[in-house]
């Protein structure tokens, strides 16, 4: 415990009432306990800081999550969901029996008469599991035996923002807490001097992507805002306002903070308001972050072979490769939920152009992350997820004659994600879409099921992690969802 601060009996209760930590607040308490920034040696039995009582509900398989969110919706028929029949039907109208009366984006409107578009590159089988992967993803192909593909994902939303929000918060409109917020609310933090929930974003250079990352994608909704994701930025200060003002040295800052603490302690004695104790601790945590974040971002000691594995962009801040490396470094330091968001998968008219860049920028770093985590023994309790908000139509958007402008529209009825590590079965495929990658044919996994599964892997019964707001108990999975235990090792 920090000798300069005597908390005595000043245990804040106002906001932290009912929580298992002594009540000072996750980050604050972490700062009082010290720690060298690595995963704490012992966080079994949910001894994480600030976990809710009774959580985790059962022994977790995974302790942390790295979500490689592929925003814009990756084209499942072109990269992972191999359908020879789609190739056969290439250029012919989609059979009506597949289309039904489905609703599509207003860009497609009525799908009747749209022609099938075969995968734009060949697929091959890889590994012992024999998973089919497109030539577009050669590095991912090398790690398929670590992966669990879910090819029967489906969602309710057909446009980006609502669909991303649906996946990440369980509701299409903003206002609900995101997954990372739920998890840190429930499970607390295992990092002493970094936030429990960290977000990074990137976009491939040269894409014409129009997607935007809204901060509600990592928001805390109606949960207290300290559960929202902290953004590690791609430029400028890595965390907003992290750096001391020009001309103020770290020594001066230290002295300033010591005096602030002294004066706040006088106040605390006089007024007895536990918020003052929390504030003292949070100012201390702020100082720690000023050291821990630069330490986190310093990759000069990473071995060359590790850097090479992530590919040529790894040293460039704001790229997916850099963010994947950071994700591993954050995982090592005990950060609970690491949300890496990459934009640019919205190939309405760029399957033969930008898709190549998109795959190139993401394939190698994603595979490298899996390998790197495994090499460090972190893959066992780190759940890695790779996937977007929906899939893309098996039929073409644009004209068959204009190959340069081939595209696929939004497609919520079947899409593919993969997971790795964190207690998920290795080298399997769960669920199946039909032979045109149009609809789910077997073992459907709805977004809420997916969320329930994720929580399950972290030792949480999704029906029991709730928060009361506007007179009712809310949860990540709304009133739906069933954990897909078949994928759990």
């Amino acid at each position: 415990m920090d000798p300069r601060i005597d908390f005595g009996n000043n245990i804040p209760r106002r906001e932290f009432f009912g929580r298992s930590a002594t009540g000072i607040g996750v980050a604050a308490l972490a700062s009082l306990l010290g720690g060298d920034g690595r995963v704490m040696a012992d966080d079994k039995a949910g001894a994480a800081l600030g976990a809710l009582p009774g959580l985790p509900h059962f022994a977790p398989k995974a302790k942390r999550v790295i979500y490689l969110f592929q925003s814009g919706a990756p084209t499942h028929p072109d990269i992972f969901d191999y359908k020879p029949k789609l190739k056969e039907l290439h250029g012919t109208p989609m059979p009506d029996s597949y289309l039904g009366t489905k609703r599509f984006s207003s860009m497609t409107g009525n799908p009747k008469g749209k022609v099938a578009l075969g995968p734009i590159e060949p697929f091959k089988q890889y590994g012992q599991s024999g998973a089919w992967v497109s030539d577009l993803m050669p590095h991912t192909a090398q790690v398929v035996d670590e992966l669990c593909f879910i090819k029967s994902m489906h969602t309710d939303a057909v446009n980006h923002a609502p669909a991303v929000n649906f996946l990440l918060s369980g509701a299409q409109i903003p206002g609900r807490p995101s997954m990372g917020a739920w998890l840190t609310y429930g499970l607390g933090s295992t990092s002493a001097n970094l936030p429990a929930f960290v977000v990074m974003t990137s976009v491939s250079k040269g894409t014409t992507c129009g997607q935007i990352f809204y901060d509600f994608y990592w928001g805390s909704g109606f949960l207290p805002s300290r559960f929202q994701g902290v953004k590690l930025r791609g430029g400028g200060d890595p965390v907003l306002y992290l750096n001391n003002p020009d001309g103020m040295s770290s020594t001066m800052r230290r002295g300033l903070l010591d005096d602030i603490a002294k004066l706040n302690e006088i106040k605390l004695k006089e007024y007895g308001d536990p918020e003052i104790a929390t504030r003292i601790a949070q100012y201390e945590m702020a100082f720690k972050m000023q050291t821990s974040v630069p330490e986190l971002s310093d990759i000069s000691k990473e071995p060359k072979e590790v850097l090479d594995m992530y590919g040529p962009q790894v040293k460039e801040r704001g790229t997916f490769a850099y963010n994947c490396l950071m994700a591993r470094r954050l995982a090592e330091r005990g950060v609970r939920f690491i949300q890496v968001m990459h934009a640019g998968w919205d190939q309405h008219n760029s399957l033969t152009t930008e898709l190549y860049t998109q795959c190139k920028d993401t394939d190698q770093p994603s595979a490298a992350l899996v390998k790197d985590l495994k090499a460090r023994g972190l893959l066992d309790d780190t759940l890695v997820i790779w996937g977007g908000e929906f899939g893309r139509t098996p039929f073409i958007q644009g004209s068959l004659d204009d190959r340069k402008r081939w595209g696929r529209d939004h497609h919520p009825y079947a899409f593919t994600v993969w997971m790795a590590g964190g207690g998920v079965k290795r080298g399997i495929t769960y669920g199946e879409s039909d032979d045109l990658a149009m609809n789910v044919a077997r073992d459907p996994v709805h977004v809420h099921d997916f969320q329930a599964t994720l929580l399950h892997l972290l030792g949480i019964d999704h029906e029991r992690l709730t928060y009361r707001f506007q007179g009712r108990q809310f949860r990540l999975t709304d009133v739906f969802g069933k954990a897909v235990t078949q994928v759990v090792a």
Partner: protein
């Protein structure tokens, strides 16, 4: 038939799981002499039973409803759920006590098990006759006599009689009054969002008159800063922002509406009129520009311009947002549940929801595109723009007449035909012909340019005229584009039909409905026109039990940090039973009786003895009443981030007091907008005065709000609950944001130039500028120690001192010694970061 069949149990397994108890609404202050249905029983039934046996008919199990006496007393095959006076004959009790999982209620899997105390309460209630009563918040408002308390001398006004009576019942006593400096700071921050100036403090301390505090309050209520302070919370509720939100996030010009809100508070527009204007000002007889503009409230919702969006889906969402905002702000009801189904807990149905929907479903907005000034709108040119526009319109007219005249010869044709019909135009492309069909005055820039391109070669003379006309049209368009347009409400002549939407989906219309108000509330007056105006008047009719309660509660929250009802957004049956219900009722009734007089309400609250108490708290009291619901002490909580910024600007003297106008862009770390929008939106920071305006005027980009306003409402949807957390990110903001570094530098300059040269007098002055009171000797010692250390540090590194003084654009007084100035500046930054500085104490 059994009371509840097995299939009901199965249905239960898949539904929501509930934790038995939650910190969010469980009141920790038990006072129970007798069992009171509203206070003790309904919360249990609502939480444990209504999900399956409540108002939602579609989910109701076994046909049993426990939310009404008729339902609960009704006979079933093997008994009755509730037999008044006979708990042991009541199936409810039998089932709750059952050990057989198949019979047990609530089903064990539901996680809604009752505690033994709750079971005992239920038994007691049934034994006492199982009397049902309406939910307290729906009861008509009656102005009851405030209770008499024993030590009545403490009470300054009726609020205090409620507070004191309760404290006496609890065996507690109020805290002494807070010191006068602290009191003046508290009330000045509360009523103006700014700290008092040292001169105001001196005057207040010097005024020994019995009503010196009352006079100070009146002065503050009359200050223009009052409206600016009150506007902030209203803007949160109204989800006001300077851009659309979503992709594209186009900038809008709703700021004249924001300025109207400030004026409305300052002129003390009665809250009922404030309401009617905003919901239906356009429909008032001979509506003024201000009354129409006020309806901008309804149009502050986000607009989704994402490509691929279905226009009607957008439009429906906008209307959802409008009625849900109405529900939250005036009725304290969570309507959103009823998009898809009847409310699970409150007596609100889908039909009620779509009945309200029909009132707002009548504008010409079609949901397409992302126009941030989507019609209906109100053009609000200033005088200069009006003059310019009139002049340019004339020039356009003159040029057009000339053009028409000349084109008669360029494109000869029969009388009555257009230039496009001339044989000379026969070979022109369609685009050009279409442009030529229009008379010259109605051609836009593109039309003129199309023609110009085509005729440039064959007819340079014509091209010259066209070029000149393009130049004038461009000028006019530029002026016109700069005119603010406030989106407002205006109904179409032909009403749009309204349908209940299955699951709230735009493409699943079901039964047609007509406009109506929720059945659980008083009806519209007989013969009232069925339009928004009638709805607005109904909202603030004295018979409507909710708006006054809900509104008074929000103001109370502003002053005490927590509402008398803790959930300002929800007054339904799932909300807590408020520990001070009678006080809330009294205040609400008084508010209506006063003619919805907001300033009088604020005055009443801040002049109460309850408000004037010291906020010091003993460990015992903190343990007993951690949230200060009983008010045995004064309020103490961290100020909102915007107020912390305004305080720093005011204390340093940087604050520019200009009221209103377009939003400004003060300091923001580089790259924030750029990163969020992949470079589509670039932040171009303003200069000079615009850097130091009140936070109210800071440009609010909806997808990424101003970064320094931590814990703020997102302004994406209606927010009425104050967020208050305590995180290291906040500390980083106030320690490192250039706003605070600059303010502390300027504050240092102020004390170096205006106070005596003795360090301890200077330190004292700095403390007084921020915290109003003087520092204690102990505090002074620490601060002087800081100063000494920083002086040494900066003296050893004068380059750093100079650098430190370059933070922020406000010009520094070069005559000051850099080391001395930097040391004081750092001490001032320290002071601005003290808990007390960040807190309204």
């Amino acid at each position: 038939m059994r009371l509840c069949v097995r299939r009901c149990l199965c249905a239960f397994l898949g539904v929501l799981a509930f934790r038995a108890c939650s910190a969010e609404t469980t009141s920790q202050i038990p006072v129970k002499a007798t069992v009171d249905f509203t206070r003790d029983i309904r919360p249990i039934l609502s939480e444990k039973c209504f999900y399956c046996h409540g108002p939602d008919a579609s989910k109701r199990q076994a046909g049993l409803r426990l939310d009404s006496s008729e339902g609960a007393y009704a006979a079933y095959d093997n008994g009755r759920a509730v037999v008044p006076g006979k708990p042991d004959k009541s199936e409810v009790v039998t089932r709750i006590l059952s050990q057989n999982p198949a019979d047990q209620m609530p089903p064990p899997k539901s996680n809604r098990t009752l505690s033994s105390a709750e079971i005992e309460l239920l038994r007691q209630w049934i034994a006492d006759g199982a009397k049902y009563a309406g939910h307290w918040a729906f009861e008509p408002l009656r102005q009851a006599e405030p209770p008499a308390a024993k030590s009545g001398a403490w009470a300054r006004n009726p609020i205090d009689r409620f507070v004191l009576a309760r404290l006496e019942k609890e065996g507690l006593s109020p805290s002494p009054e807070t010191p006068r400096e602290t009191l003046l700071r508290r009330v000045t921050l509360d009523l103006t969002g700014l700290p008092p100036t040292p001169a105001e403090v001196d005057a207040f301390i010097a005024d020994a008159g019995a009503d010196s505090y009352g006079k100070a309050v009146d002065r503050l209520l009359a200050s223009p800063a009052f409206g600016e302070r009150m506007a902030w919370d209203w803007l949160d509720a109204a989800r006001y922002a300077d851009s659309n939100g979503y992709q594209g996030d186009n900038e809008r010009t709703m700021w004249p509406w924001r300025d109207w809100v400030v004026r409305a508070f300052n002129s003390n527009l009665p809250f009922d009129q404030f309401t009617v204007w905003q919901l239906a000002g356009d429909q008032l007889p001979n509506a003024t520009v201000e009354q129409k503009m006020a309806t901008g409230f309804c149009r502050n919702h986000m607009i989704n311009g994402e490509g691929g969006r279905i226009a009607e889906e957008n439009r429906i969402e906008y209307v959802f947002d409008q009625i849900e905002t109405l529900g939250t702000v005036w009725l304290g009801m969570t309507f959103n549940c009823c998009r898809c189904h009847d409310h699970k807990y409150d007596q609100l149905t889908r039909r009620d929801y779509y009945g309200l929907f029909a009132f707002f479903n009548q504008t010409q907005v079609d949901g397409g595109g992302g126009d941030p000034q989507t019609k209906p709108n109100l053009e609000l040119p200033n005088d200069e723009q009006k003059t310019q526009l009139a002049k340019l319109d004339d020039e356009v007219q003159t040029g057009a007449e000339d053009l028409d005249y000349q084109e008669d010869s360029f494109f000869p044709r029969d009388f009555g035909k257009s230039a496009a019909d001339s044989p000379a135009a026969a070979k022109l492309p369609d685009k050009v012909k279409n442009a030529l069909k229009k008379s010259a005055v109605s051609r836009n820039r593109n039309d003129l340019a199309e023609i110009e391109k085509e005729v440039a070669k064959p007819n340079p003379e014509h091209a010259k005229l066209l070029k000149a006309q393009i130049a004038v049209v461009d000028k006019r368009d530029a002026v016109s584009k700069a005119i603010p347009r406030v989106m407002i409400m205006e109904d179409m002549a032909k009403p749009r039909k309204t349908f209940m939407l299955e699951k709230g989906l735009y493409d699943k219309p079901r039964d047609e409905v007509t406009a109506s108000v929720p059945a659980v509330l008083p009806a519209l007056p007989k013969g009232a026109a069925i339009n928004r105006l009638s709805l607005a008047r109904w909202v603030v009719a004295p018979e409507n039990p909710l708006p006054a309660r809900v509104t008074v509660n929000r103001f109370w929250q502003q002053f005490f940090g927590i509402g008398l009802v803790k959930t300002p957004e929800d007054f339904g049956t799932q909300s807590e039973f408020p520990p001070h219900r009678d006080l809330l009722n009294w205040l609400a009734a008084e508010f209506v009786r006063s003619g919805w007089d907001v300033k009088a309400l604020c005055r009443q609250i801040v002049t109460s003895a309850a408000y004037r108490q010291s906020s010091k708290v003993s460990p015992a009291l903190r343990e007993r009443d951690p949230e200060n619901r009983l008010m045995a002490r004064g309020p103490r909580f961290r100020m909102p981030a915007w107020m912390i910024r305004d305080q720093a600007l005011a204390a340093s003297g940087l604050l520019v007091a200009k009221i209103g106008g377009p939003a400004v862009k003060p300091y923001q770390p580089p790259g924030v907008w750029e990163e969020a929008t992949f470079g589509n939106k670039r932040y171009s920071q303003d200069k000079d005065d615009a850097l130091h305006r009140r936070s109210l005027y800071t440009f609010w980009r909806r997808i990424i709000g101003p970064t320094e306003f931590f814990d703020s409402a997102t302004r994406q949807t209606c927010t009425v609950k104050q967020l208050r957390t305590n995180s290291p990110m906040h500390a980083l903001t106030t320690l490192n944001d250039v706003t605070f570094v600059e303010a502390s530098r300027v504050l240092a300059e102020r004390i170096l130039t205006s106070a005596s040269s003795a360090p301890d007098a200077r330190i004292e002055f700095a403390v007084r500028c921020v915290m109003v009171r003087k520092p204690s000797p102990e505090e002074k010692t620490v601060l002087l120690g800081s100063l000494e250390r920083l002086r040494k540090e900066f003296a050893a590194d004068p380059v750093s001192a100079k650098k430190y003084l370059q933070n922020g654009e406000f010009k520094r007084n070069d005559k000051l010694d850099p080391v001395e100035h930097a040391a004081y500046a750092a001490v001032c930054l320290l002071i601005l970061n003290l808990d007390e500085a960040l807190t309204k104490e």
